[in-house]
Symmetry: D3
Subunit: 69 residues, 6 copies
């Protein structure tokens, strides 16, 4: 499967914190940790857990830019 | 200034492609290139151009996860 | 590949309208047409064109709900 | 009221799962189920419950596209 | 029609800048100007133009927070 | 720090409601209350609490427009 999203950062799941309906999944992408907020159902479906290889997918229109003054 | 966004990836602008109202800015973040789609006004305001140090900012709720089957 | 996104609507591309940097791709999903705004690069990479089988992918946190009063 | 969002999929609420602050609402849109993640306040305000007619509203810029290789 | 989105800021359109596929619409909300990036089709459908009463609608999950150090 | 986001609405935090993983923060922006859904980690990091000066940051591509018929 291929995706239109311009940003696909492959890494390894570092940890998964489950909430009542929403989980936070942290993925180590070459030393940088990316946090994703996904549904608990997605965590179960994709078997997301520490050590799982996973890709953080981000649409270009969801990226803001910050600069120092 | 500090931001609530969990993902703040610092890097250097690689290129800026301007459209009629929307520009695509690519930022090299430690070897990984992140693409952001922002308004042309933002490009002007932040003086975004090749070589500019910039941070890609992404909310955790805007990150999807993909895994191999 | 499997995705965390709860909404994955499979259909057929109806048309692609290219802009300067951003394209609008319309996908017929069982009679309902879903419009996606993606980068021109994504249109080229995924060879999106009329008749191409494609899936509209939408995160649950990007869906609003409207009701009649 | 009319909305700028290109995607407005009318259906019927199938179920509502409440979390601590965030609920997941599933809407049957002509046989396809669309999941929305909304605040608990929205569930109360809109009286979202099984059987309620509701429309899933999605901005074109929030739709990704996936294709088979 | 009622919407799940927590943020609905009513105002008056100040200007509309059309691009190839995407327009930028600025709405004056009680002295604060809010900019929306929408499709050209939406501008036509909703007859968006200077002086038109319009509401900026924003999901709570799309709002970031910034604070001074 | 400067941000590409077109919408930066400065105000004062009115209240913070914590969930299991996600908090809802309401900010009074000159009489209008804006609700943001952020991670609990962000609430802790930014010391978000009633009375704290804070800015609601919203990308133009995340703003929908509604009009009366």
């Amino acid at each position: 499967m291929r995706l239109s999203a311009r940003n696909q950062l492959k890494g390894v799941v570092v940890d998964v914190v489950k909430g009542a309906t929403t989980s936070h999944v942290r993925i180590d992408v070459g030393g940088t940790v990316v946090t994703a907020s996904v549904t608990n159902e997605a965590v179960a479906d994709l078997k997301l857990a520490k050590g799982r290889v996973a890709t953080a997918v981000i649409k270009a229109s969801d990226v803001l830019i910050a600069v120092e003054e």
